[in-house]
C-alpha cells in the first residue's frame, strides 16, 4: 500500500491475498455443497454454479495479481534481497513486501487449484 508515495506495509497488506484465497475457498465450497450435497439429480447440469465460481475466480485472481504486482514493484524498487535480519524500519518493510509477494503467489496457485473442478465436473456425480 502506498501513502503519499511511501510504502506502508503492515500485517493487513500481508494477509490480503490469503484472505481473498480464503474467501474464494469458502464461496466455491459452500456453493458447490449447496448445489451438490443433497446428492439428488446428480446428472443434472450445474452450469450456473460453474459460471458463478468462474466469475468470482476471475475477480479473486485479478485482486491477487494486483497485490502481487504492487508487492513485486515495491520489493524490486529497493533492489529486492532476501536478508531480513536487520532491526530497522527499512528491513521490516522489505520483509513484509517479500512475504506479501510469496503469499500472493501461494494464493494465486491455491485459487487456480480450487477452480480446477469446474473444468472437469459438468454435474454433481
Amino acid at each position: 500500500m502506498q501513502v503519499f508515495g511511501k510504502t506502508q506495509d503492515n500485517l493487513w497488506t500481508l494477509i490480503a491475498a490469503p484472505t481473498i484465497w480464503g474467501f474464494h475457498f469458502l464461496f466455491s465450497y459452500f456453493l458447490a455443497a449447496y448445489r451438490c450435497a443433497p446428492n439428488a439429480d446428480i446428472f443434472k447440469d450445474i452450469g450456473g454454479t460453474r459460471v458463478a465460481i468462474a466469475g468470482v475466480t476471475i475477480v479473486c485472481l485479478l485482486l491477487i495479481l494486483l497485490i502481487l504486482r504492487r508487492a513485486w514493484r515495491e520489493w524490486r524498487a529497493e533492489g529486492g534481497g532476501y536478508q531480513n535480519a536487520k532491526d530497522t524500519p527499512e528491513a521490516r518493510e522489505r520483509f513484509l513486501e517479500f512475504s506479501t509477494l510469496l503469499l500472493a503467489l501461494l494464493s494465486l496457485a491455491a485459487v487456480l487449484f480450487e477452480t480446477m473442478p469446474i473444468f472437469v465436473f459438468w454435474d454433481c456425480r
Binding site: 487449484f113 473444468f119 465436473f121
Partner: protein, 331 residues
C-alpha cells in the same frame, strides 16, 4: 549370487502372494479398480523418482559439494525445485485425478441393487428403483437377500447404499473403490466388473465390535446366469414339513428372520429364504454348512462378538441340529 536371489525371492513370496486373490486391489477385476491401481503405480513411480532426486541432492550437498552456495543459486533452487516443480506436478496430478471421477460415475446400464449396512451384516435387495439423496431411505421391497451380491459381468451395476444405525463403508477392493453407507442418506456406487468370479467385500469404516467380521461376497457371473439367479431368488423357499421348521417357529426365530413361504416374516435379521444357496453365513465369516449353521445358532456371540442375535445354546443339541439341517435345505 543365485542362492542369494533365491533367498530374496523366498522372503518376498509371502509378501507378494498377498497382492493376489479375491480381496486385493492389486489384482483388479473391475474398471474402477484398474484405474485406481494405475493411479497407485504412477504415484508410486513419481514418488520414488522424487525421493531419489531429493536423496541424491542431499547426498551431493553433504558429500559432493561442501562449500557455501551463492544466494542466487540457493534462491533459484528453492524457486524452481521447491515451488514451481511441486506446483506443476500437483496441478497435473489433481487434474488427472479429477477427470477420472465423472467417467467412473457415469450412469449404470445394469441392475440397481439396494445394500444396507447394518451392525454387523449387509441387507441386500435386488430389482429396486431408487435414487441417491439426503434425508432419504433405501427403497423397500425388491428381492431380498443378505451378505452376498450377484452382479452381471461387463455391466454397470448401481449399488444404492445406506444404513439404519451407524456409518459403514462398502468396499470390494478387486472391483471398485469404497463408498460410505450413511444413515439418512442414500449413496451411489457403480460396480463394473470385467471378470467373472467370487470376490470378497468388507466393511471399511469401523462400526462396532464385529466390524472386522462384517464381510460379504460378490459373485460376478454372465448376464443370463444373473437373470436365472434373480428368478430363483424371487421364489419362496421350497419348504417341506420338517421338525426343523416347527422348531424354528416355536423358538422365536421368526421374530427376526423371514423365510418366504412360511409364517416366518421377521425383518430384524437376514432373510433366510435361500440361505443354503449362499456361499457363506454370518456375513462372510463361515462357509455355509449345516455344522456351521448349528454352531452359529448355539453361540453366535462366540463366533461373532457383538452380534445382536441371542445365543440359543440353551436348546438341546438335537433341536439345534434339526433347525440347522432344515436351514441347510433352503437352497
Amino acid at each position: 549370487m543365485r542362492p542369494r536371489i533365491s533367498a530374496i525371492s523366498a522372503l518376498m513370496l509371502p509378501v507378494l502372494s498377498g497382492c493376489k486373490g479375491a480381496q486385493s486391489a492389486f489384482d483388479p477385476a473391475g474398471v474402477e479398480s484398474e484405474r485406481v491401481l494405475q493411479l497407485f503405480w504412477i504415484m508410486l513411480a513419481g514418488g520414488t523418482a522424487i525421493w531419489a532426486v531429493v536423496i541424491g541432492l542431499s547426498f551431493y550437498a553433504s558429500r559432493g559439494k561442501t562449500g557455501p552456495y551463492s544466494d542466487r543459486s540457493g534462491v533459484r533452487l528453492i524457486i524452481w525445485g521447491g515451488c514451481v516443480f511441486p506446483t506443476v506436478v500437483l496441478a497435473g496430478l489433481l487434474y488427472w485425478g479429477l477427470e477420472i471421477m465423472p467417467e467412473l460415475r457415469r450412469p449404470g446400464d445394469g441392475p440397481t441393487i439396494a445394500v444396507s449396512g447394518e451392525r454387523f451384516w449387509w441387507r441386500v435387495a435386488y430389482a429396486v428403483e431408487g435414487e441417491p439423496g439426503v434425508v432419504r431411505d433405501l427403497p423397500r421391497g425388491g428381492i431380498p437377500s443378505a451378505n452376498e451380491i450377484w452382479i452381471p459381468v461387463d455391466k454397470r451395476t448401481e449399488i444404492l447404499l445406506s444404513s439404519p444405525d451407524v456409518i459403514h463403508s462398502f468396499w470390494v477392493p478387486s472391483i471398485a473403490g469404497k463408498m460410505d453407507a450413511i444413515p439418512g442418506r442414500v449413496n451411489r456406487l457403480v460396480l463394473e466388473p470385467t471378470e467373472t468370479g467370487v470376490f470378497n467385500g468388507a466393511c471399511a469404516e469401523y462400526c462396532g465390535t464385529a466390524h472386522a467380521l462384517m464381510g460379504f461376497r460378490v459373485v460376478v457371473v454372465p448376464e443370463d446366469e444373473f437373470e436365472a439367479y434373480l428368478e430363483a431368488q424371487a421364489q419362496p423357499a421350497a419348504v417341506t414339513d420338517s421338525p426343523g421348521l416347527e422348531l424354528f417357529l416355536q423358538n422365536g426365530c421368526a421374530a427376526c428372520h423371514t423365510v418366504r413361504g412360511t409364517p416366518a416374516d421377521g425383518d430384524v435379521g437376514p432373510d433366510l429364504t435361500h440361505v443354503a444357496s449362499r456361499l457363506s453365513i454370518a456375513a462372510g465369516i463361515l462357509p455355509t454348512t449345516v455344522e456351521n449353521l448349528a454352531a452359529f445358532i448355539a453361540s453366535p456371540d462366540h463366533l461373532k462378538p457383538g452380534v445382536e442375535m441371542p445365543a440359543f445354546g440353551v436348546l438341546p443339541e438335537d433341536q439345534i441340529a434339526r433347525i440347522a439341517a432344515w436351514l441347510g435345505t433352503l437352497e
